[in-house]
């Protein structure tokens, strides 16, 4: 019995028809740790969560939750886990309180205990006032919070959160981050998938980057950022001025060649020690008479990490709600993750 590690996966593989959703994934989450699972759409994040949450059997490999096998001991595993999937999985025709009471009863709580727990959680996610309304009348953020509360009903030791802040407004996102931080502080082990780099950076102790069903990187946010290189100096040229002139003026100043993004009139210069080159930068601008509209020194974000690791840009947070091109008939195409692309 593995008592040190909350989640262990070894060589997990899963294929859906022609799509290899997972191709041998290994990961381990120590008890009380927060693991951020990052990856673009179709990377296999949801499939991995579903296997760990006993919803899907793997084709190959094995996984344990607190030492219990997710296939052979699925019943026991279900008493340890909480799951908040990508959808706000709440009954739209039950009230907030009824939803949580139902989950409590189905988790084995008695009537009174289920009611108490429902009220506690409604308070926690700030839905006490709306507790008596049917969930259909809730905003998407409120449903999302109710769904999150439902995953906490049985006081899980291990919590799976599949893109937990999708559909939340910035305030709701911050509120959820705070709650997740509290849970982690109480010793709950968390695995959260996200496309929001900021979210992974903010919450996770360890990050696993998944791409096309494989783990392509693991580490802390700091070590992953180091792999993406040093700082970046971003300069925006004012309208009417050729960014190539600016790039030419910056030659040899940074740790690499300046990159021009002509569409937005931007020049990005990789630098090792940003602040140290600022005097030289100012001198060159003065000497050439070139002007800059905006200047920023930026640490590498996880977007940069992703770019460095996969050679492609991950889905930006702004588009995460409608990741794929909408199809004419409005239907959704199943993907490797078994969800809308």
């Amino acid at each position: 019995m593995d008592t040190e590690r909350a989640i262990v996966a070894e060589g997990l593989s899963k294929r859906f028809g022609p799509v290899q959703a997972l191709a041998g994934v290994d990961l381990a989450v120590p008890r009380g740790a927060v693991l951020g699972l990052l990856g673009p759409n179709g990377a296999g994040k949801t499939t991995l969560v579903r296997i760990l949450a006993t919803l899907l059997p793997p084709d190959a490999g094995r996984a344990q939750i607190c030492g219990l096998d997710v296939v052979c001991q699925a019943g026991a595993v279900r008493r340890l886990i909480g799951l908040s999937g990508q959808y706000a999985a709440v009954d739209a025709f039950l009230t907030g309180r009824e939803n949580l009471k139902m989950i409590g009863r189905l988790s084995g709580l008695g009537r009174a205990a289920a009611r108490r727990r429902a009220d506690e959680l409604l308070e926690l996610v700030d839905l006490t006032e709306a507790a008596g309304r049917i969930a259909r009348t809730y905003s998407s953020g409120m449903r999302r919070r109710l769904d999150f509360a439902a995953s906490l009903v049985a006081r899980p030791a291990v919590l799976f959160l599949d893109e937990p802040t999708t559909g939340l407004d910035p305030r709701g996102r911050l509120g959820l981050w705070r709650l997740l931080g509290e849970l982690a502080a109480q010793g709950v082990s968390l695995l959260l998938t996200t496309q929001y780099m900021e979210e992974a950076d903010q919450l996770a102790d360890q990050l696993v980057v998944l791409d096309q069903g494989r783990v392509i990187a693991t580490g802390t946010a700091t070590t992953l950022k180091a792999r993406a290189g040093g700082d970046r100096l971003e300069l925006h040229t004012p309208p009417g001025q050729d960014p190539a002139l600016l790039a030419a003026a910056l030659a040899g100043l940074g740790s690499g060649a300046p990159v021009i993004d002509a569409d937005v009139g931007r020049v990005v210069l990789p630098v090792r020690d940003g602040p140290a080159i600022l005097p030289e930068l100012a001198a060159r601008l003065a000497a050439t008479g070139l002007r800059v509209a905006d200047l920023a020194l930026r640490r590498p974000t996880l977007d940069d990490v992703f770019l460095a690791l996969t050679g492609q840009q991950p889905t930006s947070p702004g588009h995460a709600d409608q990741p794929g091109p909408p199809r004419r008939d409005g239907s959704r195409t199943p993907t490797a993750e078994g969800r809308a692309p």
């Binding site: 919803l55 019943g75 006081r155």
Partner: protein, 268 residues
């Protein structure tokens, strides 16, 4: 918050399975009074069927052995209304699948059969209401049970058993079809040809010979004839046994198939 799981009976334990069944049934009964389409299928449609078929066909069709068409048609409308209403079970299950509710239930330490059985049990409660409503409306326009109270109760019981088979079949359809609209359509389209090629509206003897051959073995004919025998009187045993055999057969296939499917299905 502590990180220990709550003390709970084994999911497989009979008392636990029963508690889960009660909880899921309660969920569906709540929905029954809050979901507009369910209210229509449970109240408006059965009343409409009784009035429509009685007054449109009643003047033209004079089946042998009855003086009023309502006495002939009402047992048939029992089956029709119950079978149509059951299509909403396929819709609900497909919807639960699409919204992630079934994923949520499957990740809980609950009985594996409870989600489907709880839906079927709630359907049974609805069907009891529907049968009472139709009997009441029927009685107001001339329907009477002619074979005594015991046979009348047996008729209601048999109609409930038909409902159980319909619920499980539609639950299976919902799990297989996965799309709520398609599941609802499949549930209705599966029933319509069977209803119209049965003894529901007209005696089988009035149909062309080739159709009679099918109509006689049609499970709708078998169950409607059994209900009719229980409502009107006359020899009942053979009809009722045949009907029960059909219902048992359908349940023997649909229940294990639906539960097995449920255990291996996740949201798309």
């Amino acid at each position: 918050m502590t990180t220990t799981a709550p003390p709970a009976a084994q999911p497989g334990a009979p008392t636990r399975a029963l508690a889960d069944l009660v909880t899921v049934t309660g969920r569906n009964l709540h929905r029954l009074v809050r979901v507009p389409t369910l209210i229509v299928f449970a109240t408006v449609q059965p009343v409409m069927f009784v009035l429509l078929f009685t007054y449109t066909y009643g003047g033209a069709i004079h089946p042998p052995g009855v003086t009023r068409y309502i006495d002939y048609i009402l047992p048939g409308i029992f089956v029709l209304a119950i079978a149509f209403g059951a299509s909403q079970t396929g819709v609900a299950i497909a919807d639960d699948l699409a919204t992630g509710m079934i994923d949520r239930f499957r990740a809980l330490p609950m009985a594996r059969s409870a989600v489907l059985a709880g839906r079927a049990l709630a359907d049974a409660v609805r069907n009891l209401f529907v049968l009472a409503l139709m009997t009441g409306v029927g009685a107001a326009i001339g329907f009477r049970f002619h074979a005594g109270a015991a046979a009348a109760l047996a008729a209601i019981g048999l109609a409930m058993a038909v409902g159980l088979a319909c619920s499980w079949l539609n639950a299976l359809v919902g799990l297989l079809v996965r799309d709520a609209e398609s599941a609802g359509l499949a549930g209705l389209l599966g029933v319509v040809p069977l209803i119209f090629t049965s003894s529901t509206f007209v005696p089988v003897a009035t149909m062309p010979g080739w159709l009679q051959a099918f109509a006689k073995i049609n499970p709708v004919t078998v169950t409607v004839d059994a209900l009719r025998a229980l409502c009107l009187g006359g020899p009942t045993a053979t009809h009722v046994w045949q009907a029960l055999a059909w219902i048992a057969g359908l349940l023997a296939v649909s229940v294990p198939a639906a539960v097995a499917r449920y255990r291996h299905t996740t949201a798309t």
